[in-house]
C-alpha cells in the first residue's frame, strides 16, 4: 500500500496587494489572506484523485507544512479537500533550505512512498525545495512532472521534455516536482470534507535547528502596468504602428 506525502506551502492569496516593511527587506503580512500554494494544491488534488481511483493501492495522503500555528487554517483546508492527516513542523519557513531540512525530518520519521512538491511557491518562486529535499534524503527526484499514475505496483510519471513528453517509472520512495497538468483544477472542499476536517489528525512536530542560508537584502515591486489601448480589429495598420513605435516590440 502506497503512502503519499504532499508538501504544502502557505502563501498570500494571489490577489493580495504586496507591501514590504523593514526597509523593503520583509514582506508586510498585515491583512494578508493566506492560501495553499496553487501548485501544491494541484499536487494534493492529484494525490486525492489517485487514492479515490485506487483505494486498495493508496493507503493514505498526508500533507506536511513548515510554519507556525497561524498557518493551520491552510492545513485544515487541505484536510477538507481530502487529505487523510497532516503534519505541521512548528518552525518559521525562513528559506528553501530550512524548509527542505524540516520536511526531510518528517519523511525520515515516517515511511512515505511518493512525495509530491509543487514546482514553486507563488510568493518567493525559488523552485528549490523539492530538489533539496530529495538530496538531503538521498532519494531520487523527478522534475517537470505533469502526471502521476499508478499501474499495478508501478508509479508512472509523465514529464515534459523539449517538444513533447516522456513517461518514466521510478522506484519508491522518490520526490516528484509537479507542474502544469498534474490536475485539471484544484479540488473545492465539499461540506462533508469541511465537516470531517474537524476530526482528522493534525500532528505538530517541533522543528530542528537549521542554518539560514539566505539573507533578503531588498525587495522591489514590478513597475506598474501601463494602461491598455484598444484598437479596432479593422485597424491593423494602427496596431502595427503602436507595436513598432510606441511599445517598440517589433
Amino acid at each position: 500500500m502506497i503512502k503519499i506525502l504532499v508538501c504544502i506551502s502557505n502563501v498570500p492569496d494571489t490577489t493580495t496587494k504586496i507591501k514590504f516593511t523593514n526597509n523593503n527587506k520583509t514582506l508586510d503580512n498585515t491583512g494578508t489572506q493566506w492560501i495553499i500554494n496553487p501548485w501544491d494544491e494541484l499536487a494534493l488534488t492529484r494525490a486525492i484523485e489517485m487514492k479515490e481511483a485506487a483505494p486498495g493501492a493508496v493507503q493514505s495522503v498526508t500533507v506536511a507544512h513548515v510554519g507556525l500555528a497561524d498557518s493551520e487554517p491552510t492545513i485544515r483546508k487541505a484536510l477538507a479537500m481530502g487529505a487523510d492527516d497532516a503534519i505541521r513542523v512548528n518552525a518559521t519557513a525562513n528559506d528553501s533550505y530550512s524548509v527542505a531540512v524540516q520536511l526531510s525530518e518528517v519523511v525520515k520519521n515516517n515511511s512515505f512512498d511518493i512525495i509530491l512538491c509543487g514546482i514553486e511557491s507563488s510568493d518567493y518562486n525559488n523552485s528549490t525545495v523539492g530538489g533539496m529535499l530529495s538530496e538531503i534524503l538521498g532519494i531520487p527526484s523527478v522534475s517537470s512532472v505533469s502526471n502521476v499514475t499508478l499501474e499495478g505496483d508501478q508509479v508512472k510519471l509523465k514529464r515534459e521534455i523539449d517538444g513533447g513528453f516522456e513517461t518514466i517509472s521510478v522506484s519508491n520512495p522518490f520526490v516528484a516536482i509537479v507542474q502544469k497538468g498534474i490536475a485539471k483544477e484544484p479540488r473545492i472542499p465539499s461540506m462533508r470534507g469541511i465537516m470531517s476536517a474537524r476530526t482528522k489528525t493534525l500532528q505538530v512536530l517541533e522543528g530542528i535547528q537549521t542554518e539560514e542560508l539566505v539573507e533578503y537584502v531588498d525587495f522591489v515591486l514590478p513597475s506598474a502596468k501601463s494602461s491598455c489601448k484598444k484598437i479596432d480589429p479593422e485597424n491593423v495598420k494602427e496596431l502595427i504602428n503602436l507595436l513598432h513605435n510606441e511599445a517598440k516590440v517589433i
Binding site: P73, K77, P186, I188, P189, S190, M191, M195
Partner: protein, 380 residues
Amino acid sequence: MDFNFTEEQLMIQSAARDFAQRELLEGIIERDDNCIFPAEQIKKLSELGFLGMMVDPKYDGGGMDAVSYVLAMEEISKIDSAAAVVMSVNNSLVCWGLETYGTEAQKEKFLKPLARGEKLGAYLLSEPEAGSDATSQRTTAEDKGDYYLLNGTKNWITNANCASTYLVIAQTNPEKKHKGINVLIVDKNSPGVSLGPHENKMGMRSSDTHSVMFTDVKVPKENRIGEDGFGFTFAMKTLEGGRIGIASQALGIASGAFERAVKYSKERKAFGTEISNHEVIAFKLADMAVKIENARNLCLKAAWLKDQYQPYGTASAMAKKYAADIAMEVTTEAVQIHGGYGYVKEYHVERLMREAKLTQIYEGTSEIQNIIISRAVLKD
C-alpha cells in the same frame, strides 16, 4: 460580541466563491438569455453538499449552521442567482421543513436523497389567486380515508420541472379556513401532475419556474407532514427560514453588483482620471457599501438567532425586506456607474438589476415583510 467567522465558516465561504467563479460565471449570460437551467452546475453544487448543507449529517446533510449558509448564498448569488434560488428552496424550505416536522420514515425516504443532492425539492404554496394571502388556498386535498385527492393549480413554482419531491400546501377543510390547510409530500411523477410552460421572466430567467396543475392526484396519507391542519403553520414557519435564504441572495446580488462597480470605477477614465476619483462616483460607492454592510449584518443576525434556537421570524423579515430593497438600489446605481456599458449584457450589472427586483417579490413581498415587522413592533 464576536464578529469573527469560524475557520469552517470561512472555508465554506471560500468554497462557494471558488465554485461560483469556476463553474457558474462561464455561460451565465447565454443561460439567462435563453432560459437554460444550469443543470450541470447544480449537479456539481449538490455533489459538494451545498443543497443540503444545513441538514443534520445523520440524514446525510452537511451539518453546517445558518451563518455558513448566508455566506455561501451570498457568494453563489454574486454570480448566478438562478443557481442560488435552487439552493435556497432546497435548503431552507424543503429540507428544513422535512427535517423539522417530518416523521422518521419521511426523513428516511424523502429528506436523505434531497440532502445528498440526488433529488431536488420544490415548495408549492403560491396560487393564481393566493400569493401574499396564503390563507386563501384553492388547491384542495380531499380526505379519502387512505389517501388525499389533490386538485388545483400552483403558480410561480421554483424547481417545478427539475424537482422530484414536491411539498404541496392545500386545503382539506375549507370550513376551518387556514386551520384546515395541510402540507403533503407529492412525487412529481404521480399520475395527474402536469406542468405549465417555463415562465418567461424578467430576471433569474434560467431558474426553473412553472405553474403546476394537479388533477385527481392520489397522495398517500403517510405523506402528510404534521397533524391534520398543520399546513398553514408549516408554511409560515418554513418561510421564516426561507427569508434568510432570499435575503442572502439579495445581499449577494447587491455585493456582486458593487464589486463590479468598484472594479469598473477604477478602470474607466473620464475627465483625465479614473471615475472613482470623482466624488460623485466615490460617494455613490460609499453609500452602496454602507447599505450592503447593513444588509449583511441583518442576514447574519437572523441566521445567528436561528443557530441559537431563538425566535428569528422578525429578524429574517427585516433582513429580507432590507436586503431586497437595497439590492434594487445598489444594482441600479451599479448600472448608473457603468453608464452605457451597464445597460448592455456583457457587463452583468443589468442582469443583477433584473434579478434584484424578484427578491422584493418572492417568498413574501417587501410589503408582506412590513406587515410581519410592524405586527412585531406594535405587539403589546
